[in-house]
Symmetry: C2
């Protein structure tokens, strides 16, 4: 039998992958499982946009242009403009979700062995995307004790060598909910300019910034037009993960040309998804305001509940719909498995993502989890009831050492 | 300014890419351009399926499972069964078009430097997909004089070395319309078994086989279950290129597992496209019969017209909706550019794909073109009128040496 490739064996599985069979078994046994492990929101996709999309006459569902449907790129540029980002349609290449955008960037801007500096914990699939492209991630460890604040510029600079092609951040961050403001971006901007690097920013959670903070896009950094590359997606913004429509946005002409070559290879991003995405950009403000308020409520619920759990270290996330928490356990993975296999509270339990898979440095995050606020507040309260009770009765619980950090 | 990658510069452009600005100019100047250069059919996507799709209640357009929506995989397996192919839903990984399928296979089954043997001319983007994955194509040249018949098994065997991972064919073939029958597949089957290789078959044109020939899928090769991997797509079958729904089908468990790892990285194939694809599998027989008859008519039109053009070498294509033709010109690329830039006949001209880009061996195909039968018969006749006239008046025309091959 012909064998698979060596590289295929190295593709990392998702942080909660090993838990899936246990969740399935728990459900088979009649337990309710609250899924806080995956970033698939329960918020409805804009109903009016779906209605409008369904009215579009469709005769031949043809390839769209490789860089995206022209009218959608125009409208998307309009959305950026409205949000203070000076983007023309020509600066946009529409992709099949942010996932494809990141893969394309790895191939377009990086060669085998090139390096990207990324603060950890980071979105776990970055490991796989870079592995495919033979790009090396150089992580800088952030700490839960200060809400995973951006490391100092010195720490970034220490890792820069002749192989470094860029710094890659997610703002606001999946998996930590950390928010980077204008000042932090300007610091990174100066650094990438000094060393002639890319600053790649995954901004898919742009709309979800809390506590009155104003989102500052990398595309607004003066003089950094040739350095900044933004990754975007409609998935989280419009609770439309399945449409698979993302984008690469940059003013670097050479990068745009290079990405376009890759885009042409796969002919077209999904046409139906683009039509719906275009419709979602009509009167989107009300929808986004509501969604943001809902995530804010959930964030405060999770924060309040985690704060009251003895021995739990967490912080108030300032963006996106995730937070990290450190539990008084030796192995969060074991705890998460135990939650599904052994534990139940009023017939229910919780599925979380063990933290380890979000770190590139071995051994980190072993007592941490990522929590996604993708359930309505009532379910979230019930899920937190489960978690609180579980931490009381978990046999592997360590002695209490409560630290709660509030970032303001 | 940070530079793009070296590999990005090596991504080949499509064979007709250089002609696009000339086509645009021709249109601006008021000329009608008959596009025979691209495989985007004009046949309507099944209207009843679109109607049914629009009736599906859509609340949250969520990620589909990474391997595809369960109900769609079941229905697709049903379609294969109906066509005599013993495929279970578990043998299917749904992909974002055949394009993603081929990329995933390169990463899952091949390492840097591994080799694939492919008869040339072949679908030009195979060059780019393999280049991304650092896989080397070893071409075997086929000849227009015998309708690009499959090379002998000896010719394949000569190229097999310790780096060879598989043989890759398209059946029926884009760009040549060549059809490989049961006997040819069995020959290749014995060879891949002997050398423990993969036999990868792009079967996206399966439904379009003419002259009463019966399509024989690689999945029907006995004892080759661990070797055969089929690439499929709804794009051409249902004239739905924009939905971006393809599939990898194999019984090799290790390959399925490896592909699934890559599939999980990008989370989900397009959900809307899958919903429509599922609807397209209702009562598809009538639609496919009609489509096949239409392509057959067009094929005969093109064949008849090319046969009557002095100095043109062609053949009767036996599948798909393409043929190759050799023109009495020194450079088909120059001729194609001249068609757009200098020529017009009753206010119209034709855009073709120069043949060179479909070959991996430098210097081949320079006097050949690919013609796609993607226009209705009337337009096709007008396009052939243009071509016939153009070949009469083209200043760079060589002396006549007419060879016409009819494959039966």
């Amino acid at each position: 039998m012909p064998g698979i490739s060596n590289r295929a064996g190295k593709v990392p599985l998702s942080p909660f992958r090993k838990l899936v069979p246990y969740a399935d078994k728990a459900k088979e046994a009649g337990k309710k499982v609250y899924h806080l492990n995956i970033g698939q929101p329960d918020i409805l996709t804009p109903a009016s946009a779906i209605e409008q999309f369904k009215k579009i006459p469709m005769k031949v569902i043809a390839y769209s242009p490789a860089v995206g449907i022209t009218s959608y790129r125009k409208k998307l540029a309009g959305y950026y403009h409205k949000n203070g980002m000076p983007v023309d349609p020509d600066h946009i290449v529409v992709t099949t979700g942010a996932s494809e955008a990141i893969q394309m960037l790895c191939f377009s801007c990086m060669d085998n062995g090139d390096e990207l500096i990324i603060p950890e914990p980071f979105y776990a699939n970055y490991n796989g995307f870079t592995q495919i492209a033979d790009v090396k991630i150089r992580p800088i460890t952030c700490s839960i004790e200060d809400g995973f604040a951006l490391p100092s510029v010195d720490q970034f600079e220490e890792l820069i060598n002749e192989k470094t092609k860029g710094i890659f951040i997610t703002n606001p961050s999946n998996p930590t909910g950390t928010f980077y403001g204008k000042e932090e971006l300007e610091q990174l901007g100066r650094l990438v300019k000094k060393h002639d690097l890319y600053l790649i920013i995954d901004e898919v959670y742009r709309e979800f910034c809390f506590d009155g903070q104003e989102f500052f896009s990398g595309l607004n950094l003066d003089g950094l037009e040739d350095h900044v590359i933004v990754v975007d997606s409609v998935s989280k913004r419009f609770s439309a993960c399945g449409v698979r429509v993302g984008a690469i946005v940059t003013k670097n002409e050479e990068v745009l040309e290079s990405i376009t070559r890759y885009a042409k290879l796969r002919l077209s991003p999904p046409a139906l998804g683009q039509m719906l995405s275009e419709a979602m950009l009509d009167n989107e403000e009300d929808y986004l305001r509501e969604a943001k308020m809902e995530y804010d409520r959930r964030r405060m619920t999770v924060y309040r509940r985690l704060s009251a759990m003895p021995g739990v270290v967490s912080y108030k996330p300032r963006g996106a719909f995730y937070c990290f928490a450190k539990f008084p356990v030796k192995s969060a993975e074991h705890f998460c498995q135990w939650l599904l296999e052994e534990f139940e509270y009023h017939g229910a339990t919780v599925m979380l993502s063990p933290g380890e898979g979000f770190y590139a440095t071995p051994g980190l995050g072993v007592d941490e989890v990522r929590i996604a606020f993708v359930l309505n507040s009532e379910d979230l309260e019930s899920a937190m009831d489960c978690l609180e009770e579980a931490l009381k009765v978990y046999p592997g619980k360590l002695e209490e050492k409560k630290v709660l950090v509030e970032k303001i």
